[in-house]
């Protein structure tokens, strides 16, 4: 009798552990990755490396935060490479005539406007499915990227070539309190808190989830779906712009093709974090975990001395496995 009770208890606990692992697959993979690295290469825990990780936790985190809302709303925004390049070029070329602060403000405004244009295009033609929005934003990415190339005349600029004051950019890149609380990290935390409150506590934030879950049902129950679509694309444009300014400060080079490949990386970070591409569920906190996994992965693999080509392979492999297991679990539930 006692044995049986103990057995069921054990099973219960095991079941609980299993379901925890299933729900927080990213967390488990992050922890196991860190453990393996610590055992093989104790250098991982030294202060310079930890600072390094926080520094690497840069622009991609901003882009992914914006992308999260678009994906929750049931769309995909492929326009962020174009927006990033455009914002970087606009900011860089406006430092001379307007001064640095006005240039940063103008860059962020450009991002918001780009997001607004995307949303207007999508709403006006009634693109309700993922694929339609995907191709409109892909086309717009080409348009923004081309405008960036035309403004820059295809040339790459450098912050140190500008004769005016560029201290704000070096502050964004290096300033902050102490080694760990760098300015860009604090900015990221600020964005995260604001977006989390927006997502969980405001009405507009909730309508985004409902719109993503079922657009027709949301519209028929009186939710202004157009407004939520508009909001997600503006947030995505805004976060791309902020990320682009951080990116410009960090690499101090203004290249008109700098945004390339950030779209797929941001989508991967969001999806690996556990936000479903079908829309209607997800969270910015999950995205942070996804970005953390991708950042830690490159750091750990660097420490372990894996060649960059092998790293690309492993990145693809781990992503496929994580997504596969995630979908298997979800499929089992349904």
């Amino acid at each position: 009798m006692m044995q049986m009770i103990e057995k069921t208890k054990l099973q219960k606990n095991a079941g609980r552990v299993l379901s925890f692992i299933k729900n927080y697959l990213v967390l488990v993979s992050i922890v196991s990755l860190v453990m393996i690295t610590i055992i093989v290469e104790p250098k991982f825990l030294t202060q310079p490396n930890l600072i390094n990780i926080i520094r690497q936790f840069g622009p991609l985190a901003f882009f992914s935060l914006g992308m999260t809302f678009v994906i929750i709303c049931g769309f995909i925004d492929l326009s962020i490479p174009g927006i990033i390049s455009l914002v970087v070029i606009v900011t860089y070329s406006l430092i001379e005539p307007l001064g640095q602060y006005a240039a940063i403000a103008a860059g962020i405004l450009v991002g918001i406007i780009a997001g607004y244009i995307n949303s207007r295009l999508i709403i006006s033609c009634g693109a309700l499915t993922n694929a339609e929005a995907l191709f409109i934003t892909f086309g717009m990415s080409t348009v923004y990227g081309a405008i960036a190339l035309i403004i820059a005349a295809g040339k790459t600029g450098h912050l140190s070539w500008i004769e005016k004051d560029t201290s704000a950019f070096s502050f964004i890149a290096q300033g902050g309190f102490g080694d760990f609380l760098s300015f860009s990290f604090l900015l990221f935390i600020l964005c995260l808190v604001i977006l989390y409150i927006f997502q969980s506590k405001t009405f507009l934030g909730n309508t985004i989830f409902l719109t993503g879950g079922n657009k027709t049902a949301a519209r028929l129950s009186g939710i202004n779906t157009f407004k939520s679509i508009q909001t997600v694309f503006i947030i995505s444009g805004l976060m791309s712009a902020i990320g682009a300014v951080v990116l410009l400060s960090r690499i101090t080079t203004a290249s008109p093709v700098v945004g390339r490949n950030y779209d797929t990386n941001a989508i991967l970070a969001v999806v690996v974090g556990g936000t479903r591409l079908t829309g209607g569920q997800g969270s910015v906190l999950r995205t942070v975990l996804g970005v953390l996994l991708i950042t830690l992965m490159s750091n750990c693999l660097d420490l372990l001395g894996v060649s960059p080509f092998m790293q690309t392979m492993l990145r693809g492999l781990i992503l496929v496995i994580v997504i596969w297991i995630d979908y298997r679990n979800q499929g089992g539930k349904q």
Partner: protein, 321 residues
């Protein structure tokens, strides 16, 4: 009243055949510019530049019609060329080329396993396999371009038929006819349309949905490999940087041509016209000496406009019902 009716019919026709109209407009405009557009050499170059993308697009059209997406074609394209060139040192050239094509089919098979058998999201899983294979290509070549040891390799695609037409165009046309027949006249092709139209209905009417959808992924991997080998043949090099932007461009062209992304609508001729439109835009703007950045802008605007009109027409239809 009559005029109004005629206008309505005309506008419907324009919306339906917008890609063909765009192609015709470009062709007519090019008559009057007096540039070197209408020369045999230029027309052959135009078709040659379109050929690789056309080959890729034929397989992808099957996947799209069946309701799937395959973003790994860019990487399969690199892999096939690299595999063929590396193996050429060990085994005869024709076997090496076959091995390259088989590698693409294998990638398609793996994609099909994840997407169709395990029912994951095609968009994200093929993105993942694409990254994986790109890494494999970099590992195989050390991220350097490699060239084949066999000199007859390059003559396969650059050789001329009748003294004018390059072999690659013949290959493209043959593949086009084959895929057109597959989609049009085989039960496999008809079932693809049924599955793309409604997966559930197709399943309950007794179609083996998993096998057929899986096969479409194998086909898209296969054509990606053929396209990749053709590209390596043209340039006489295999490199891991091919195809970075190709998947989205190919998909866009297919959609612009009139293949619906929701699945169930479309065909090989439509896709071919879509790809031709973009190659034509590239070529005509080049012969007008327009700067490459403005070309990129024009291409982006064309993509957005055509897809916008497509969606808008569908929205009007929805509201009318």
């Amino acid at each position: 009243m009559n005029i109004q009716n005629n206008l309505k019919i005309a506008s419907r026709l324009i919306i339906k055949q917008k890609t063909i109209i765009a192609v015709v407009i470009i062709l007519v405009v090019m008559i009057f510019t007096g540039s070197g557009f209408y020369t045999t050499f230029n027309i052959m170059e135009l078709l040659k530049s379109a050929a690789v993308l056309e080959i890729l697009a034929f397989g992808v059209t099957l996947t799209i019609i069946c309701g799937g997406t395959d973003l790994s074609i860019g990487s399969s394209m690199c892999l096939s060329g690299i595999v063929a060139i590396i193996l050429m040192d060990i085994i005869p050239m024709w076997l090496a080329i076959l091995a390259g094509i088989a590698s693409g089919a294998a990638v398609g098979f793996i994609n099909g396993f994840f997407v169709v058998h395990q029912k994951t999201e095609p968009f994200i899983i093929t993105l993942g396999t694409g990254i994986l294979i790109k890494g494999l290509c970099q590992q195989l070549t050390d991220a350097k371009p490699i060239s084949p040891s066999n000199t007859s390799f390059v003559t396969i695609s650059n050789g001329l038929v009748f003294g004018v037409v390059p072999n690659i165009i013949i290959v493209t046309i043959v593949l086009m006819v084959i895929f057109y027949c597959i989609l049009r006249f085989t039960s496999f092709g008809r079932n693809c349309y049924a599955i793309g139209g409604d997966y559930g209905v197709a399943k309950y009417s007794g179609i083996d949905v998993i096998r057929i959808k899986w096969l479409t992924f194998v086909f898209s991997g296969l054509t990606a490999a053929i396209g990749g080998i053709m590209l390596s043949l043209l340039l006489n090099t295999g490199s891991s940087i091919y195809g970075d932007n190709t998947p989205l461009l190919v998909f866009c062209s297919a959609v612009v041509g009139g293949t619906s992304f929701a699945g169930g609508i479309g065909g090989i001729p439509q896709t071919a016209i879509g790809i031709l439109l973009f190659s034509l835009l590239d070529n005509s703007m080049n012969s007008l000496l327009i700067s490459p950045y403005v070309q990129m802008l024009t291409k982006g605007i064309v993509i957005v406009l055509i897809i916008w009109f497509d969606c808008y027409a569908r929205k009007r239809k929805r509201e009318a019902v």
